[in-house]
Each structure stands twice: as C-alpha cells, then as structure tokens.
Symmetry: C2
Subunit: 108 residues, 2 copies
C-alpha cells in the first residue's frame, strides 16, 4: 500500500517532465529501483482524481496508432507537490524518531 503518498509520487514524476500514464509507471519503477510498481488500477483512477482536482492537465495524442494521454503538472500541482513534500519530510522524520527508540532486534 502506498497509503496516501501516491499523489505525491505521481506529481513528483510529472514535475520532471510531462508523461503519459504507462510511462509514469515505468518511470517510478526505474527511479525507485523496482521498489514502487503501481498497478494500472491504481494509477489511472489516481490520475483522473488529480486531473479533476486541477493538479495535472491531460492532453490526448496519437503516436504510431496508439492513443496516449499525456499529463503535465499545473501551477497548483506544483505548489501542492511542494506542500506534500514538506509533509512527507516531517512525517518520515517523526516515524524515524519513533523507530529509533525501538530496542533490538528492530535495528536491522
């Protein structure tokens, strides 16, 4: 489970450059070295959500007989990403602080 951090990850990928859905999956898999592998049933609804919310803008195109919908970050998407990044940093630091208190054998 990606548990609510999904949006941030998608926005992060799109912040680098616009991409279509399928490519987002591959990009995420690559930059995370296979740790993050989104099912399509997860990604596409999420993209639609983000589009409805105005965080990304999708445009259809046709490349070699295949229809693609490319998504780009909107200004609102950018500010949202920045904010979510801040939240993530705080959150992961807090979790880290809690975990550090845990005694052996949890250090692994």
């Amino acid at each position: 489970m990606l548990k609510g951090h999904l949006d941030m990850l998608i926005l992060s990928v799109l912040a680098r450059r616009p991409r279509h859905g399928y490519a987002i999956i591959e990009d995420l898999r690559a930059t995370s070295r296979d740790a993050l592998d989104l099912p399509e049933g997860t990604l596409y609804p999420a993209l639609h959500r983000l589009e409805r919310a105005g965080l990304v803008a999708g445009t259809w195109s046709e490349a070699s007989g295949r229809r693609r919908k490319s998504y780009a970050l909107t200004p609102l998407g950018m500010t949202t990403l920045t904010e979510e990044r801040r939240t993530w940093t705080r959150f992961s630091a807090a979790v880290g602080a809690v975990l550090e208190e845990v005694p052996w054998p949890s250090i692994s």
Copy 2:
C-alpha cells in the same frame, strides 16, 4: 493520515514496554515531538484490530479508580514489527529516491 503505518507505530511503542491506550498516544506525541498526535477514534479501533490479529495482548487493570487496558507485544507482534520496519525502510528510501529527482523548488 497515517495511511497504514499506524500499526507499525503502535507496535513500536509497545515494543519498548507495555502501555495502555491513552499512554500510547502520549508516548507517540512525545517521541515524535508533537508530529504524531493520534485521535482516540483512531487508536482504540486499531488496538482492537491488533488484538484480534494476535499482535498484541490486552489485560485489564484497575489503578486508582480508573480502569485501564494495558497492551503488550506478543511474539507474533514482534516479528510483524520487524517485518513492517523493513518494509518502511525500503519504502521511505524509494520515496526519497523519487523526491530527489524532482527539480526546484521542491528541494526545500
């Protein structure tokens, strides 16, 4: 939202020493320096879930007129915690890797 990492956090607190519900909230708030502040409506159902799953064991006690239910980690809870910790480490590293690729102004 704690998004699925809730169990790990609760188990982490209990790994240090058994605690009753209310104390878990305070403990978490303290070790995270106020970053993590669980609502009771979040914690108690979670504890019941964990108890049903056999990850923690609850025992009632009476201290100065107040009934308390103290929870302790079971062996299964300990192994689960270790596993979830590993998952968290991998996950947060992966997210970190993705975020690092994001261009300005997300470096903040």
